[in-house]
Symmetry: C2
Subunit: 357 residues, 2 copies
Amino acid sequence: MKKHNFSAGPSILPEFTKEKTAEAILNFAGTGLSVMEVSHRSKEFVAVMEQARELVKELLGVPEGYSVLFLQGGASLQFLMAPMNLLEKKAAYLNTGTWASKALKEAKTYVGEVVEVASSKDQNYNYIPKNYVVPADVDYFHYTSNNTIYGTEILRDPVVPVPMVCDMSSDIFSRPVDVSKYDLIYAGAQKNLGPSGATLVIVKESALGKVTRPIPTMLDYRTHIANDSMFNTPATVPVFGSLQTLLWLKELGGVAAIEKVNQQKADMLYDEIERNRMFMSTVADPADRSRMNVIFVMKPEYAELEKAFSDFASSRGMVGLKGHRSVGGFRASLYNAMPVESVQALIDVMQEFEKNN
Amino acid sequence: MKKHNFSAGPSILPEFTKEKTAEAILNFAGTGLSVMEVSHRSKEFVAVMEQARELVKELLGVPEGYSVLFLQGGASLQFLMAPMNLLEKKAAYLNTGTWASKALKEAKTYVGEVVEVASSKDQNYNYIPKNYVVPADVDYFHYTSNNTIYGTEILRDPVVPVPMVCDMSSDIFSRPVDVSKYDLIYAGAQKNLGPSGATLVIVKESALGKVTRPIPTMLDYRTHIANDSMFNTPATVPVFGSLQTLLWLKELGGVAAIEKVNQQKADMLYDEIERNRMFMSTVADPADRSRMNVIFVMKPEYAELEKAFSDFASSRGMVGLKGHRSVGGFRASLYNAMPVESVQALIDVMQEFEKNN
């Protein structure tokens, strides 16, 4: 039976990425060796790192003056590195969910002064705060573009009077972004990019070197810029896998092209949630709905059918649909690699379940 | 032509590890999904993490009261994490090479007081200092068990009056170790364990929580202990690959069995270096010679033949033999997965080159 992988992350990757990675695990770039066992300083692997960096720049239109890095430690380590490198006086954070809140807490507890400009915690993060004011005297404004757990997304670059720092872990490469508005963009690879273990960082070089604190070597972006992400051994297979996905995305037409497909998939599923008498969205304002993670729950009158739907969906090959414990219900993650056919398969299952019950 | 992979790291892995990983990249544990795209919280991946942890404990005889973690960031991040978690008053470091020196510098520059008990820098690290004194009032004694660049190794646990911390990146699992003497052992995966991107940490739980400094979340071992290495998304493919190597090693008979093979391989190659009129070891005392990284250079009278030997060896399928720029010459890394046949192939090449010139 065909599996439809709606996991929130690590999550579905293109067949291309899987095939090319499996090949390279056995024979990488004609070396007769595995990509797992060649030196990261071999010309074949250096070419992987360079090509990945260049494709990130090309696909996102990264301007001159920015460096693209592949680090380790995920967004969780960036919650610390971002303020260590950029926060001198104070920083402003928008609190839209679990990850935004963790980023804010790490900066505030271990680095410096943080202003929480707004929070949607009062309603279990089911909306994106609007009309907040970002003070003009902060070093940067930090936000999380997509909230994987709560299914909300900030689809347009906020307009604020300071440079921005953004955790784009779960929607990077899903649409165009104006990188020039950001001092720093970071993203764990394991949603739209590749296997977990690589962390993409796009950093404006001129924003660095302005803080007075000492920064430990591995936490200093300048270390990694100066060494082309090879100060220490990078996570070679995750970087190789990420490159394959970038190649696949370029072939598809890039972020503008994939955005159209992402919009189509999200529209299909949200329309079904609206139409189906059994389900409802948990996001308060339709404008805040995530295109990447579609959260839905049983309507109160059908609450007792939750397990039955879960079992039925599993029996039809749906994987990873269980919602996060903070929200309950279901979460269908529709990352770039998710085909329209799988979204249709989920809709069919929802309709059949409605008919049968 | 068969390739013989003498790379220093990432380096040769067992065929078993490569085959099983390539399989799992396409279909992991019968899920029909790639190991790259399943949730790290799926029961299938949680089983990988648990089994890897248990096998580390079994193979190294890790006593009760220790936690085994799979983190990210390599030994380079451990250079910071180790002192942040364990250094309150001061620590003693033995300086035996580039990595030992980096570990010492990171602790001293960013964390606290460090005593360098001895250094072999005066002779380009070509020996292991002996008869140094570790003060009894330090929090720990840090050393690097194998010096990848200089080809020296400390084969027996030092006897010191304090708990030890050891960077075993390049010889872990090559021989038995008495873990009870250590507060902390850490190792990047990319030599004897698996693909780069995973960092193995073995830490004594009772050694933690004694420092007064605040420790950022991701740098605090307690964070990762409390979450079974899943506080954030682990590097799933590197952990999966590491598990395969652990399974392979267990099947071979474990660390005591592999130690015999490692000794045999090292003896074969050092014997040839001694015998061959063209080559010489750079390590001052034969007792300090590494079993993992065998460094040799042309004797002065044959210095002009270095490139010719390099080309000849390459033409016979030898890969990764180039020595580190700090030492020059050649480096044959003989990690666990290196078959005796490949060592013999290198010896044959050395003998043929001697005969031809």
